[in-house]
């Protein structure tokens, strides 16, 4: 155990205060810190996570606090360091592997899909891969097509993986701890537009369940189903709808695999209408899967075809106005919700 750990208690003291103003970024960092402090098997590994503090500044300060053995800068090879994380997990460690963006994780797709997801099954249960892989996802920062896509739906296709999308400060703070306790690989997708989000987090904030969807706003007229960065656009749309007398229910999936089908079907059965908001492309999207589950499980409860608001089927453009036009926006969500009610 590295000596730096001894600094920890002094630095964690401020967290004892009443609900503190914090950001999503700080909430993720607090979760990583708590994990590092609690469990000597936990370490963080990825590109620029050490000296640079992480490309989204999530791990800033952690190298100084925990030292280079536990905050490890890696070469620019996703396949290599994700593979190393998988190996470490099989060997008894609890690695947190950070990948800069989901676009880059495609270089490690082989490690994630062919190794992490399969070893439990192929070894007849003899080996498990308790690795947590965090990565940024989504667009909105004008980072162009190679840094802006939302491919979490692809991972949600793969048995053997759990896929999480924390959208709130509580979930940013709490999902990592539950994911680390899981005996199998868990992928956590942090939307790039959430890192600067501010809010209050009680000092008691900690591990949260990762298997349930959450109703973020109750309503009776239409279910708006979303996750991650689009939760807030959807809540904004719900507020607009409320001014026109339409009470939308906003459901945050939280877990993309497994899907909390029970909560989805219960909500849709109440409202009889659903619109799915997903920053992925519409064809073959997670929104398609949720829509199919609704058809299978709640067809006879529906009063309108299920609607989807997804990204335009183009590589995410660089210019701001085109980027905005390509992504789901509150106005589009409002229009889709109204369409299910036969209103315009």
């Amino acid at each position: 155990m590295s000596p730096e750990v001894q600094n920890a208690p002094a630095q964690s003291a401020p967290a004892q205060a009443a609900p503190a103003q914090t950001t999503y970024r700080e909430a993720v960092r607090a979760a990583i810190r708590e994990a590092l402090l609690k469990d000597s098997r936990v370490f963080l590994m990825g590109e620029d996570v050490g000296r640079y503090g992480g490309c989204y500044a999530v791990s800033k300060g952690l190298l100084q606090e925990f030292g280079p053995e536990r905050i490890r800068d890696t070469p620019l090879s996703e396949s290599a360091f994700v593979g190393a994380g998988i190996g470490a997990a099989m060997g008894g460690m609890r690695p947190i592997v950070e990948v800069m963006t989901v676009n880059f994780s495609l270089l490690a797709l082989d490690q994630i899909v062919n190794n992490a997801a399969t070893i439990r099954h192929m070894s007849g249960g003899q080996f498990g891969v308790p690795v947590v892989i965090r990565m940024a996802t989504g667009a909105g920062r004008q980072l162009a097509a190679q840094h802006s896509h939302s491919l979490e739906g692809w991972y949600a296709h793969v048995p053997g993986l759990k896929v999480l999308a924390p959208a709130t400060l509580e979930d940013a703070r709490g999902m990592l701890l539950t994911a680390l306790a899981d005996p199998d690989p868990v992928l956590i997708f942090e939307h790039v537009m959430l890192y600067n989000m501010t809010g209050e987090l009680p000092p008691t904030a900690g591990a949260v369940p990762i298997d349930k969807a959450a109703i973020r706003r109750p309503g009776r007229d239409v279910s708006l189903i979303t996750y991650g960065g689009n939760l807030f656009k959807t809540l904004e749309a719900a507020a607009t709808l409320a001014r026109e007398g339409i009470e939308a229910e906003v459901l945050d999936l939280r877990s993309l695999r497994p899907l909390d089908e029970k909560t989805i079907l219960a909500s849709v059965s109440r409202t009889r209408r659903a619109v799915i908001v997903d920053e992925g492309w519409r064809s073959g999207s997670l929104a398609a899967e949720v829509s199919a589950r609704i058809m299978e499980g709640a067809f006879w409860e529906l009063d309108a075809p299920v609607g989807r608001v997804c990204s335009a089927e183009v590589p995410v453009p660089y210019p701001r106005h085109l980027e905005e036009a390509a992504l789901p926006q509150p106005a589009g969500i409002v229009a889709a919700a109204k369409a299910t009610l036969g209103r315009s």
Partner: protein, 385 residues
């Protein structure tokens, strides 16, 4: 139109739950009929396909008149009117001109002739027997949605829904009871039963159960009567056309008082073979449906004996009037704490007055006494129920 009571001459068909082309199985509920005793759900006794509806909702027809035509499976089905296409045309029909586009970019499949009706609306309409054809749609693209069906259900408040007509029911009860007193030579027996063992048994059984799973004494009494009837066949059956036909099955009819007056005594089918838990559930269900006016035809016509229990109303005893064509009615009063002599000592005991009114054309007091004594004996061994 089935006969749903000894004195029923006609009934009004209020609602069809099946439409031409629907498959039906023996026992399915296919229609609702309004009688003097309220709205009764009608079961079908055949398996097949509804080929034609002969009586439209709102029509009053005499008992015995056919309501619908049912074809046996495999029999050629007369094509129902309206535009129900054959199930599988040999050559797929060419899709007609597409309907105006939906606000949602969904590709349109349905032809213009087909009503746009949401799945939820279809389900609700089927449940309530509403004809979708006359409904105006308020959903996307003018689709009929569940709210439209719900609104249509609310519109005609009169006669449509169960709505018990208490004056009519009073007439029906009066007719049946007058006939009973006119035709049936009643004889009456009574006994007082020590209920303490049965109550102690219930206390043991219910310990640790949540209120909704507790068994009440009423269920124990129903079960006891049903089991005692196995050895007393002359109290279980019907006296019709001058002779008594004992019933092999034991369907105890349980008298249920309705709020606002009136009374029905629907059957708990095969009462003797049900566990106490099942009986409890069946009783709850029956009481609830009796009060909402949703009983099935068979429940009205099948009771082979009636049990009336007025203990809850605070009386010590009740002696009933037989409901023809049945031949007996058992009555229970209120379990009450009374001084009771047990082995030469006076002890406080919970006791219950039981009565039997029976048809002298079928049985004598001797058999009735044995029947009541059997009920008493069984209540002393509640573990065997």
């Amino acid at each position: 139109m089935p006969s749903l009571g000894a004195d029923m001459e006609a009934g009004t068909l209020v609602e069809w739950l099946k439409k031409p082309g629907d498959a039906v199985h023996r026992g399915d509920i296919i229609a609702v009929v309004e009688t003097q005793k309220g709205a009764i759900e009608i079961e079908v006794f055949e398996t097949g396909v509804v080929s034609e509806i002969l009586v439209q909702p709102g029509t009053k027809v005499p008992v015995g008149q056919p309501l619908a035509q049912i074809s046996a499976p495999g029999e050629a089905v007369k094509p129902p009117p309206a535009a129900v296409a054959p199930a599988r045309p040999a050559i797929p029909e060419k899709p007609r001109a597409p309907a105006p586009p939906l606000p949602l970019s969904a590709p349109t499949v349905a032809g213009e002739a087909r009503r746009r009706v949401s799945p939820a609306a279809r389900k609700l309409a089927a449940e309530r027997g509403i004809d979708l054809a006359g409904l105006k749609g308020s959903g996307p693209g003018g689709a009929v949605i569940s709210n439209d069906v719900a609104a249509a259900t609310r519109k005609p408040p009169a006669a449509r829904k169960p709505g018990l007509d208490l004056a009519e029911m009073r007439k029906a009860i009066g007719a049946a009871m007058a006939r009973s007193k006119r035709e049936i030579p009643h004889y009456y027996l009574g006994t007082t039963i020590d209920l303490s063992r049965a109550l102690a048994f219930l206390e043991r059984t219910n310990a640790g159960r949540t209120p909704d799973r507790r068994i009440m004494i009423g269920a124990v009494l129903i079960k006891t009567v049903a089991l005692a009837l196995r050895r007393a066949p002359t109290f279980n059956g019907f006296f019709q056309n001058g002779s008594f036909a004992p019933s092999k099955a034991i369907h105890v009819g349980v008298a249920v008082a309705l709020r606002g007056g009136g009374l029905v005594a629907p059957a708990i089918h095969d009462t003797d073979s049900l566990s106490l838990d099942d009986l409890m559930a069946a009783t709850r269900d029956l009481v609830e449906r009796s009060r909402s006016g949703r009983l099935r035809g068979s429940e009205m016509t099948d009771p082979t004996i009636t049990l009336t229990s007025l203990g809850e109303r605070g009386v010590d005893s009740v002696v009933g009037v037989i409901f023809p064509p049945q031949v007996a009615i058992v009555g229970f009063g209120r379990p009450a704490l009374r001084p009771w002599v047990v082995e030469g000592r006076v002890e406080p005991r919970q006791v219950l007055q039981a009565s039997l009114a029976a048809d002298h054309r079928v049985s004598d007091g001797h058999a009735g006494a044995l029947f009541l004594a059997d009920i008493d004996r069984m209540l002393q061994e509640p573990d065997k129920l």
